[in-house]
């Protein structure tokens, strides 16, 4: 582990940045070797800003302006295999087009950082936010971290390289921000000096790469006799993520005073009902909780940051004392019992003798606004269901029936 020191405040640069711009600047400061990306709304600013850095000679990165997202992820795998520090960015249909190669990137153990501005999947075609894209990719083997603010997007992008490139992990990682709501929203961001990031990350030291002095075969055919072992090793690797995540965050905190945790609890200690969500709805939920608390309602928020690997124990520990947990999620898993986030929460609680009731609210599909009233509606319904002693498996809120 590198030794990092607290960065004096006067060395920090404060700027007003959109989520996309914050990520672009973080990628620049991480001194990535290769960026291969294709434009797609609402991620495009990341690539546009980065190409501006290239045009002005501010980075040494080789940018590959590929002809599709499938090629973007493919080029990232190739570059990462050489030993380069690699990133890309996408959203929605772009992520869907990468799908096949997401699994290759993870199984070939390439520490690629993929920043995603979460956007709804077609059809109907829609450019606005929900989480159907990355939730759909939840079994791809990528680590998934979701951010609530531009500052967190900036910080998480930097930490992502250190987590992914750790020799005990070597897995690709998605850093997700809500499309438009965060990707295009200007917030105050405290930026680290280049030198501090350089010291924090160092140069990538690949564990195995396409080194001419030591030729290897990567991506072979493995059949019934070996394929399963590859998957077993991949599973072991993703299980090690929480420990490495904590180490990296601790180091980052020493440097900046900031850390986020795999999850964040807000006024949950004595809460009878916990609102569980992530990304920008978590900010709205916190405001709702503040208002409800003024009315002596015992309510809090669990804001999840890490969705893959899912921190089951920590989530269960944080919510087990509540009477109910109201899950708010921007994805519908068609035909499923309930939806991806609630499924994880329920499975996490399964072993407990006394468990809180779980309600599942599908919100904000295709960028439908999630105002505080939507969160309040879910809260009120959960209270009612507690009285009745039963709740539906899931409900949609804010939609015309």
């Amino acid at each position: 582990m590198t030794s990092v020191e607290k960065i004096p405040k006067d060395q920090m640069v404060v700027e007003g940045l959109t989520g996309d711009a914050a990520i672009a600047l973080a990628l620049k400061q991480c001194d990535i070797d290769v960026l291969a990306a294709y434009p797609i709304t609402p991620q495009t600013i990341i690539v546009e800003d980065f190409q501006k850095f290239v045009a002005n000679g501010e980075v040494k990165t080789k940018v590959i302006p590929v002809e599709s997202e499938h090629s973007a992820m493919s080029a990232c795998v190739g570059a990462s295999a050489v030993g380069a520090r690699v990133a890309t960015a996408t959203a929605s249909a772009g992520l869907a087009l990468m799908w096949e190669i997401l699994y290759c990137a993870a199984s070939m153990r390439m520490p690629i950082v993929l920043t995603v501005a979460n956007r709804a999947l077609s059809a109907p075609i829609n450019i606005h936010n929900d989480w159907s894209d990355t939730y759909g990719a939840r079994d791809s083997g990528f680590i998934q971290l979701y951010c609530q603010s531009s500052q967190e997007a900036y910080d998480t992008t930097i930490m992502a390289f250190k987590i992914a490139e750790n020799k005990d992990i070597l897995l690709p990682i998605m850093v997700c921000i809500d499309g438009f709501i965060l990707s295009h929203n200007v917030e105050r961001v405290e930026m680290l000096p280049d030198q501090a990031i350089k010291k924090f990350l160092g140069v990538r030291q690949p564990f195995q790469n396409l080194d001419p002095d030591n030729p290897i075969t990567m991506g072979p055919l493995a059949l019934t006799d070996y394929y399963f072992e590859f998957k077993e090793q991949q599973d072991e690797a993703i299980k090690r993520v929480p420990d490495v995540f904590k180490q990296v965050e601790a180091e980052f905190e020493r440097m900046t005073g900031r850390s986020y945790g795999m999850l964040e609890t807000y006024k949950t200690e004595d809460a009878e009902i916990i609102l569980l969500t992530h990304s920008t709805p978590a900010g709205t939920a916190k405001v709702v909780v503040d208002v409800l608390r003024e009315r002596d309602e015992k309510v809090g928020v669990l804001r999840l940051k890490m969705f893959r690997p899912f921190p089951s124990k920590e989530v269960a520990e944080a919510i087990k004392h509540a009477k109910a947990v109201a899950v708010f999620e921007k994805c519908r898993s068609f035909g499923s019992t309930c939806n991806p986030l609630a499924l994880e929460v329920m499975a996490s609680l399964y072993d407990l003798k006394e468990k809180p009731m779980v309600t599942d609210f599908v919100i904000g599909l295709g960028g439908r606004d999630v105002p505080p009233t939507t969160i309040v509606e879910g809260y009120e319904k959960t209270k009612e269901y507690l009285k009745q002693g039963k709740a539906p498996l899931y409900e949609t809120l804010g939609v015309r029936k």
Binding site: K62, V66, E67, S68, A75, G78, A81, I101, P212, M218
Partner: protein, 319 residues
């Protein structure tokens, strides 16, 4: 001046050059693809990274925990060999500029079969060519998706029977023409395009070396007979590779900067094309064309070949 290995053009030099593909690679008996790869190896300048598309060559040479490759090799998926090669090439450039890559030359070669190149990998190939990465793309063309069980591809010849273009009571096998890939690739105005046949080894190795030395992307279209799919004698693959040139199925030529067409020696020396029948009769996949029912259809294929040959000669400035 960077030290580079010599291309092995003579049999004597070839025997001395370390093969990039070892024996015991598990390709079918008589398959020309390992020969194509070994000839490619004879042209190498030094450190080389091969990026391969899914296909016969990929699956048969790398059955884990074994590999037949003596040089760096990576496979990711079917339709993306050119995109992977873009990443490999640019990563090397980036690391070299940062002083983290010590080799002065590291050649990047993408290899795909005809399915992975003419069809599913066509978009990624075109993108990589347009972006101008320094790499060589070689297609080994065996005329069908042989790996998945002999299905038709954009490279399948008219009259060829495959498991998705059957010769039946009312169909003569594939009816459509073969996609003119080298010309489409040349239209990207890349520095170098060449067609090669494993029979003409000196021509093959010379061209591959030119491709490696080109200032930008280069493309090699290698003909690669497949006894299993073509239902031909396993001992006749190299003979078929020769006949393909002599009948005009696979003429040998180069295209410089997308505009200058040059007929290569083996094709240039032909006084006239050999009759197509000589090529067809050696393969079970064309057997049905000799039925009276398909006589006219076969004549049309022959005429198209002659017309294409005349057109190519014109492009090459041969009267």
């Amino acid at each position: 001046m960077v030290e580079v290995e010599k291309a092995a053009l003579s049999i004597k030099d070839m025997l001395q050059k370390k093969p990039i593909l070892s024996s015991g690679h598990r390709m079918c008996a008589g398959c020309a693809a390992p020969t194509v790869v070994k000839l490619m190896g004879m042209a190498l300048r030094g450190p080389t990274i091969v990026c391969e598309a899914t296909g016969c060559l990929e699956v048969a040479t790398t059955i884990y925990p074994y590999t037949a490759w003596n040089i760096n090799w990576i496979h990711v998926a079917f339709e993306n060999a050119a995109a992977v090669a873009s990443g490999v090439a640019e990563a090397i450039n980036a690391l070299r500029e940062k002083g983290q890559w010590k080799h002065e030359i590291t050649d990047v070669i993408a290899i795909g079969g005809d399915g992975g190149t003419f069809d599913i990998g066509f978009g990624s190939l075109s993108g990589a060519l347009e972006r101008g990465h320094k790499f060589v793309y070689m297609v080994y063309d065996n005329g069908a998706y042989q790996n998945t069980g002999i299905q038709r591809s954009g490279a399948t010849l008219p009259g060829q029977e495959t498991t998705t273009s059957w010769a039946g009571k009312v169909e003569p096998g594939k009816r459509e023409r073969k996609k003119p890939l080298p010309e489409i690739v040349a239209a990207h105005r890349i520095p170098y395009v060449a067609t090669v046949s494993p029979y003409y080894t000196r021509d093959f190795v010379t061209k591959f070396r030119k491709a490696l030395e080109a200032d930008g992307p280069a493309f090699i279209h290698a003909y690669s007979p497949c006894p299993r799919g073509w239902r031909s004698d396993t001992a006749k693959s190299i003979e078929l590779a020769k006949l393909a040139v002599e009948t005009g199925i696979h003429p040998l030529y180069e295209v410089i900067d997308g505009t200058e067409y040059i007929m290569s020696g083996p094709s240039k020396r032909l006084k006239e094309l050999k009759p197509l029948d000589e090529y067809l009769k050696m393969q079970g996949q064309f057997k049905h064309l000799f039925k009276p029912q398909w006589e006219e259809f076969k004549k049309k294929i022959q005429q198209d070949l002659i017309d294409d040959w005349e057109l190519l000669k014109k492009k090459c400035g041969i009267e």
